[in-house]
Symmetry: C2
Subunit: 180 residues, 2 copies
């Protein structure tokens, strides 16, 4: 076992171009920087982790301010078990309430409470301030429009009511291996 030296400087396979590298690195740094501060500020000022804020903001935009657990997980791109436990916590704090879907009693709704809407609206003041201060304000109006356009191109629109994405990925991997 020896440490690497300049003679073990193996070449990087098929590297990114300089421009690709800047775009990807900038993307990761910007995300870590902004969401890190956002999480710290929301916890410090509202005792509300960014993950929980995300659940509230997703619910407030849904019809009747409620979603089935699976749909909520799909939109937030998190696993069923994490959604279940996060909803536990938010329900314990009175910000939402579970109920059974009368049309399919396997399925459960998470519905915002009045306290949940109020909590969200208060926290949004901090949220918007941080996102503006650390991200949007550094950009011109033109750049904001470009960014929205670019990123909507780059990612598929909401994969609505999708299953937990790990399943999809695993399936794709298996078929690509089988295809050889």
């Amino acid at each position: 076992l020896q440490t690497a030296n300049k003679f073990s400087n193996l070449p990087e396979p098929d590297p990114f171009s300089e421009a690709e590298f800047r775009a990807w690195r900038g993307f990761l740094r910007a995300h870590a920087h902004v969401t890190g501060e956002l999480d710290r500020r929301l916890r410090a000022e509202h005792d509300l982790p960014l993950d929980q804020f995300g659940i509230l903001i997703t619910l407030v935009g849904a019809p009747e301010m409620r979603l089935r657990m699976g749909e909520l997980g799909a939109r937030r791109l998190v696993s069923p078990s994490k959604i279940s436990r996060s909803v536990d916590e938010l329900e314990r704090r009175g910000f939402l309430k579970r109920s059974t879907d009368p049309d399919d009693r396997r399925s459960h709704f998470a519905a915002l409470t009045l306290a949940g809407v109020q909590k969200l609206r208060t926290a949004q003041v901090t949220h918007h301030a941080v996102v503006r201060e650390l991200f949007l304000d550094a950009l011109t109006g033109r750049q904001v429009e470009q960014l929205g356009c670019i990123l909507e191109t780059a990612v598929p629109g909401v994969v609505s009511s999708a299953v937990w994405p790990a399943a999809e990925s695993a399936a794709a991997k298996l078929s690509s291996v089988a295809g050889r």
Copy 2:
């Protein structure tokens, strides 16, 4: 305790413009989508979580392929304790090696091993393929350049050898409160 209804539809304070909303939402979605798949593929094909890949890629670009623990944590924007534990794991697997800085015996280096460089180079094939497939390939060359430019504007350059950012944030919060 009652669930929210249309009469409790409190207004959002100082909302984002439509363009701001698209940019920020697209940013979050793109990040979750790409890094989620990246982590799954790196684990499945190389048994290497994205966090550990990040440590290797940071080290390989450093002088002599090594960094002090604190500097490594600052560049990756993670806490000292997490860095220490991640480095434990990578050292256990033989991809890097700790050593004490002879000039300041409080400080420890993490240095890539030959096995670590080889592991990284292999994993980079997957890494680059996923980032291209899910992100870069959806953009034109012009858009990649724009994105790099925009994001380097938005985030402060590397806060080199910075302390763990939570401390900075806490200090800023205290002073802003004191300033009222």
